[in-house]
Every structure is written in structure tokens, then in C-alpha cells.
Symmetry: C2
Subunit: 112 residues, 2 copies
DNA sequence: GTATTAGTTCTAAAATTTAAAATAAATGTT
DNA sequence: AACATTTATTTTAAATTTTAGAACTAATAC
């Protein structure tokens, strides 16, 4: 399906949400909080690269220095294409959840 | 992430939506309409089996006969676990889309 | 220089998705 | 009865995505 995977959607949304602070480890932390589940570093960095390569994100590296140790951060920002892909997934998502019948059907055959 | 993939979510929702008519090819058609994209048969049957094996769906086969040719259908129905997984994904999804700042940031460095 | 901290890259295994050919099981036709 | 047609599921292998975590980088602190 030519629709963002859930991981891709979540990463794009993290970038949106985090604004000036959208970089790898921060995104990882944000998503862990959101879903209540630990996330390996690879689980974030691998799709980030892919999303950039495909034009959903752009990036730039922070100036080497700041306050304390550690290497520089790679910040991300949504492109127009990225925003469009999010809009699309939102629409399809909403359609999928619309007009569902009441749950609690009873048409399955009785269990033997 | 221990959350339904998008394909899994969509298939479970199809089963919910289609009620008495929830079987492979019908689900495929429904999802093609929903997303506006053709879907191979494997793209539906493979995850259907997985979802059943994991307890999100139960199934039974239709009586061999009906009106016209063709082999019997395998119908699906959500289990409690399946409903729960959909509820979870809905909640996380809604959280992910809440409280997003206005889009149209301008903190990226100027293009060189 | 050596330790510490913060971050990214790499990479291989596992899991999922996808496409399409094969198979199955029913009815219709001659 | 044999063969064609229709509807549906199964199989399978390739492609893609996800995941974990070790390795590496680059800065500051001592």
C-alpha cells in the first residue's frame, strides 16, 4: 500500500511535534512516551534516513558546540511532501474508522 | 512497536465493517476502495492468517454451496483481543495527532 | 590524555508486505 | 462423464521494513 507505514507516520508526527528539537534521540524519547514502549535507536534512525531519502524530511546538522559534551545533532523538518503524506494517511485513517456498525455481532456459527 | 501495523489495523477494521461478508476477496475489494489502490491477494490472505493465529480473529468456513460456482468462503470475525488491539491503536493514534503546533515553522537554516 | 556524555551509524536478523502462480472446489455445458 | 468457468484460498519467494544493539564519533571535563 502506497501509504505511510505506522512507524513512518509516527516519526513524521514526532518531527512535526518537536519542532526545533526534532533530532534522533529526542524523537526516540518522544515516541517511547507516546506509545509506552522502549524503542531501540535503530528503530528511529533507520526510518529517519529512509524518510529523508524519499523526500519527506530535510535535515541539517547543529553547530558542533552548545552547552555540554556529545556530538552534534541532526535536526529534521517536514517537507511539503511529508506534510502531504501525513494528510493523506489522516484522511484514509478517518475513512477507515467511519461508519462502522455497532460491534457485538452474532452471526458466527456456534462453537462446537 | 507492539502496536498493530497499518495493514493489520486495516484488515481488522474491514472485518468489523463487513460483518457477515468478511472474507478474503471481499476484504481485498473493500480495502482497494478505501485506499484507492489495488491490493494483491497475498497482501490480504497472508496477514489474515497471522491475525488469526495471534488470536485477533476467529474464522469458519461457509457451507460449500450457495448460488453459483466457486469454492467456499472463509469468514472472519473479531475476537475480544482484536477489538482491544483496535482500541489501543485508536488511542495512540489520537494522541499522536493531538496538540500539534501550527505548521509552517521557519527554524531551518537557510538553504545554501 | 583519559573519562564521560550525547549522539549517530552500521549491520545483520527477524518480521512484514507484496506479487503472482498454483491449487481447490464449486457450478455449468456439451 | 469430461471439460470449461468461476470464485476463492494457499503457497512461496523476493522485496521491504523493523528491530536490536554494538560500534563509532565528537564534544566537554578532569
Amino acid at each position: 500500500m502506497d501509504i505511510l507505514s505506522r512507524m513512518e507516520e509516527f516519526i513524521l508526527l514526532s518531527v512535526w511535534k518537536l519542532q526545533e528539537e526534532a533530532y534522533g534521540l529526542e524523537i526516540r524519547q518522544y515516541l517511547s512516551d507516546l506509545t509506552g514502549q522502549e524503542l531501540s535507536v535503530g528503530a528511529v534512525y533507520v526510518p529517519l534516513k529512509r524518510l529523508k531519502k524519499r523526500g519527506y524530511l530535510e535535515s541539517w546538522d547543529s553547530e558542533p558546540t552548545e552547552e555540554r559534551g556529545g556530538r552534534s545533532k541532526r535536526f529534521y523538518k517536514l517537507t511539503q511532501k511529508g506534510i502531504g503524506a501525513l494528510q493523506q494517511v489522516k484522511t484514509v485513517q478517518e475513512n477507515a474508522w467511519s461508519n462502522l456498525p455497532d460491534i457485538g455481532f452474532d452471526w458466527a456459527p456456534a462453537k462446537s
